[in-house]
C-alpha cells in the first residue's frame, strides 16, 4: 500500500509522516510540490510545517503548487487525503475542506500534549478508533484557530463531519472546540494536532496517532 507525503518548501513534518506510515506497515512515497504527479499512491498525507514560511496566510501559497493541481481532483474523486496542521491549512485554502485556520487568540505559538475526542470513525483516516475515544496527541501551532460561519458550523455538526474536538481545554480558540473535520465523502480529513508525532514509544506523548495510518491502510486495501 503506497501512501504519498508531499514536501513543499518549508514542510517540516514530512519526515515524521513518512516514518509514521512505515511504522503502520505502509510504503511511504515522497511527493514533490513541483511535480504534477501523484505517482500512483493510494492515499496522500499533506504534512505539517511552514510551507512558504506561512507567509501571506498559512497554506495560501502551497495551495497553488503544481502537485495540488493533481491532488485536488483526486481528492474530489475519493482519494484518501489527510492534512495535518499546515496540511489542514492547505486543504482549507484549496476548498477541499470548509472553514479557515486563523491566529490563536493570544497570537503566540503554543505546543502542548492535547487530549482530543474522536467524534467520527466513519472517515478513511479514523476507522480504527473507537467512537468517543479520547486520545492524547501533540498540538503545536500559531494559527490553528478553526473558524467558519455559523451556517457551515451547523452543517458540519449536523452531518457528523466534526471528526475531532479538543477536550480538557481548547488550546487555540477554535470555534466549537473543533480540532478536525472531514469532507462530505469522508475521504479528506484535516486536523491541527499531530498524530504522526505519536507513533513510537519514547518519542512523543503517546502511541495514539498510529491508528490514523492503520485506518487508511485498511481503507485503501478495501478500495
Amino acid at each position: 500500500m503506497k501512501i504519498g507525503v508531499i514536501t513543499f518548501p518549508g514542510s517540516l513534518d514530512d519526515h515524521d509522516a513518512m516514518r509514521a506510515i512505515r511504522v503502520a506497515g505502509g510504503d511511504a512515497v515522497s511527493l514533490w510540490h513541483g511535480d504534477a504527479d501523484l505517482h500512483g499512491v493510494d492515499a496522500v498525507v499533506v504534512p505539517g510545517g511552514f510551507s512558504y514560511g506561512d507567509y501571506l496566510r498559512c497554506g495560501a501559497i502551497a495551495r497553488f503548487a503544481p502537485v495540488m493541481d493533481r491532488l485536488i481532483p483526486a481528492a474530489q474523486g475519493g482519494l484518501p487525503v489527510l492534512g495535518i496542521c499546515n496540511g489542514f491549512q492547505v486543504l482549507c485554502e484549496s476548498h477541499l475542506l470548509p472553514g479557515a485556520l486563523t491566529p490563536r487568540t493570544d497570537q503566540r505559538f503554543y505546543c502542548n500534549d492535547q487530549v482530543l475526542k474522536v467524534e467520527s470513525t466513519s472517515t478513511a483516516w479514523t476507522s480504527a478508533y473507537d467512537e468517543g475515544a479520547e486520545i492524547t496527541v501533540v498540538h503545536k501551532n500559531g494559527e490553528g484557530r478553526f473558524v467558519a460561519d455559523e451556517h457551515t458550523l451547523d452543517e458540519l455538526e449536523g452531518e457528523g463531519r466534526v471528526v475531532f474536538r479538543y477536550v480538557g481545554g481548547n488550546p487555540n480558540g477554535s470555534y466549537r472546540d473543533i480540532a478536525g473535520v472531514t469532507n462530505e465523502r469522508g475521504n479528506v480529513v484535516g486536523l491541527m494536532p499531530h498524530p504522526e508525532h505519536c507513533v513510537e514509544e519514547g518519542y512523543g506523548p503517546s502511541l495514539d496517532g498510529l491508528a490514523f495510518f492503520t485506518s487508511v491502510l485498511t481503507a485503501a486495501a478495501g478500495v
Binding site: 501571506l56 496566510r57 495560501a60 501559497i61 497553488f64 482549507c92 485554502e93 470548509p98 472553514g99 479557515a100 486563523t102 491566529p103 490563536r104 487568540t105 493570544d106 497570537q107 484557530r145 473558524v147 467558519a148 460561519d149 480558540g173
Partner: protein
C-alpha cells in the same frame, strides 16, 4: 515606477484577535478614544512604468485568488497608489 495598492480586511463577523489585542492595549498609552480596532493587510505591487488598466485587472485577480481568503477576509480596495501614500 507605478504601484498598485490592495487592501484586505478581516470580515466583520470574524473575530480579529490582533485587532482586539491592540484595542485592549492602546488605553495603556492614554489612547482611549477608539471604539474598535481591526487589523488587515496592505499589499503594494510595483510595476515598471505607469499603472495600466491591465495591471489593475491583474491585481484584482491576485487579490481575489491569492491575496485574500474569502472565508475570512474581504478585499476592500484595489487601486493606483497615490503620491500622498494612500
Amino acid at each position: 515606477m507605478g504601484h498598485v495598492v490592495i487592501d484586505v480586511m478581516p470580515k466583520t463577523e470574524i473575530l480579529d484577535p490582533q485587532g482586539q489585542a491592540i484595542a485592549g492595549a492602546l488605553p495603556r498609552l492614554g489612547i482611549d478614544q477608539f471604539a474598535d480596532v481591526r487589523q488587515g493587510k496592505r499589499f503594494v505591487l510595483a510595476v515598471d512604468g505607469d499603472v495600466t488598466q491591465e495591471h489593475l485587472a491583474q491585481a484584482r485577480a491576485a487579490a481575489e485568488k491569492m491575496l485574500s481568503n474569502p472565508v475570512i477576509e474581504d478585499v476592500v480596495s484595489v487601486r493606483v497608489l497615490e503620491a500622498d501614500g494612500r
